[in-house]
Symmetry: C2
């Protein structure tokens, strides 16, 4: 089989509702700044009623990452579940319009397309409340062997470790990818996901994963330490490549034979940090799929993250390939 | 009856789908740059399929204006028609979340909430293709006497001159407002609206309107001239106050006893001109409702327009009251 894609990703297919908010609003709604909380339909309705006027944009962590990959000129595929409703059509439109392959069948049950209510405070931090809806209904049947085995790297969104069937979909994707000699990457997604599933995640990583993306909170949560360097070292022992980001303090990439520390790229004004980690992953995955040096992978990630935090919305608004070429990275 | 609102507006309730596009795309889709074209469901589907990835945000010309008025600290009300669907709930949320009174009953027929597909070219110009849907179903019944007679100024969106029943709604609103001694303002909305309804519009203006907002293209179309000054003079003869904008060249405000020419406010980078005229109207209406000098009304309009063209989306993202206070205008 010829390789059809640089990257195939499995993720929660979500449409974001993004609204400015102040710190007092977060306190009033008992939301922890910077966190991601899962909410049900009633909670989503109640929170939406109280939020400020918003903007809707396709999101979902891995969805954002494949959009970034497409903007960099990669061939990318996406597997995720939307409903056959207005927001589902918006999600499908946006991801295919940027050139990502997306043919997952829509969910036909009573759940609507997933939504993430994102309150953005003046410091650019985003606080997310997610109603998963149809995204929760991803099953192993949705994992098409053609797509997973036709991709250089299979990228898994850690959020999908929550629902049982989606975790089974991870297992199927990993087996298929492994059998075809593909590399498997995972992002840990959220420190609370790590808390909820620490043992199972560690087991999955040691057995099936080649590349782990994490931020500092997720990496330290995974190894129950407060020591960043210790967490990075522990992670690097277990996989071929550990990539750990730490916001404005840059990122570190550690393989068995190499190590790179990369500074964050400068940003005139941080408007909305939504999608920062997702776009970092896009830049780094581009470099990994193309066999670039670790330091260049990290700098591509930093460049893509800097673009996305300079405006509202979780996906690039400027052509990342042009930016990367201008920066002399590709 | 006590005055409940500074401004009550009647408009097409529309959700915008905003996507970047290049000039070649406009040519390919036979769209005239900067224009607004009405399209049907099939055309909307076909165009959306070909558009780039987008962002959804509540829009509608008068809806944008009342959002701007609320951001300036005014009490504003809105009358317009959405369906009881996802986009309708988004529209209702966004306009009420910013503090605008909106209690128009949702449309219960087979039409969905109206959508405006906006292609934004790199020069910041927006080209709009509007599927009116439920917005088209505004009727005189939707015009609540309490709202119209409780507002200092009643503001009418010229686009509603197209459907017969909506035009009847204008007539009802004008009669009610006149009987209560309120001022009536209209925006001409679009040069093609003016072309389609020139005689009826002129008649309505001379009979019922106190304040007219127009851009240069609309004003010259109304009087079938290419001479900007002649158009302004002709308009000023027919109403108490003529307010004509001309993009980066500023605006002119002419009453029976006063005249002001106002420069455009500086903008670091024009990103998306969607909503420029709507926000200009918001600033000027604020000044008029509060009895400020014509020059200050114009400067408030320029300030609000400058804010909205510096980012994607048709409504303010920064508190306009704070901006206007910082500029010493209020």
């Amino acid at each position: 089989m010829s390789l059809s894609f640089d990257v195939a990703a499995l993720g929660n297919a979500i449409v974001d509702v993004i609204a400015p908010a102040d710190d007092a609003f977060l306190v009033e709604q008992a939301l922890a700044k910077g966190s991601m909380t899962l909410i049900d339909t009633d909670q989503a309705g109640a929170l939406y009623d109280r939020m400020g006027p918003g903007v809707e944009a396709s999101g979902g962590s891995a969805g954002n990452t494949v959009a970034g990959l497409a903007s960099l000129g990669c061939r990318a595929a996406y597997i995720g579940k939307v409903a056959d409703d207005t927001l589902g059509r918006v999600f499908r439109h946006d991801i295919t319009a940027i050139g990502v392959h997306f043919d997952s069948k829509p969910f036909t049950g009573p759940l609507g397309t997933g939504r993430c209510l994102i309150n953005v405070t003046p410091d650019g931090q985003r606080t997310m409340s997610t109603y998963l809806g149809a995204a929760n209904a991803l099953t192993p049947e949705d994992v098409s062997p053609d797509i997973v085995q036709g991709a250089e790297i299979v990228y898994l969104e850690g959020y999908l470790f929550d629902p049982d069937e989606a975790r089974q979909a991870f297992g199927k994707a990993a087996s298929l990818a492994r059998a075809a000699g593909r590399r498997i990457a995972i992002t840990l997604s959220d420190a609370f996901v790590v808390e909820r599933h620490r043992a199972a995640l560690l087991d999955f990583i040691e057995t099936d994963v080649d590349i782990v993306f994490a931020n500092a909170a997720e990496a330290t949560a995974l190894f129950e330490t407060h020591d960043f360097d210790a967490a990075v070292a522990a992670l690097a022992k277990r996989v071929d490549l550990a990539i750990v980001t730490r916001g404005k303090h840059g990122s570190v990439l550690v393989s068995q034979t190499d190590r790179a520390e990369v500074a964050a790229a400068p940003v005139a004004q941080v408007v909305d940090t939504t999608g920062a980690g997702d776009q970092y992953a896009a830049g780094a995955l581009y470099g990994l799929a193309r066999g670039l040096d670790l330091a260049v992978c990290g700098r591509l990630g930093a460049l893509a993250a800097a673009e996305v935090i300079s405006h509202y919305g979780p996906r690039p608004q400027t052509d990342l390939k042009t930016l990367a070429q201008a920066a002399g990275l590709i």
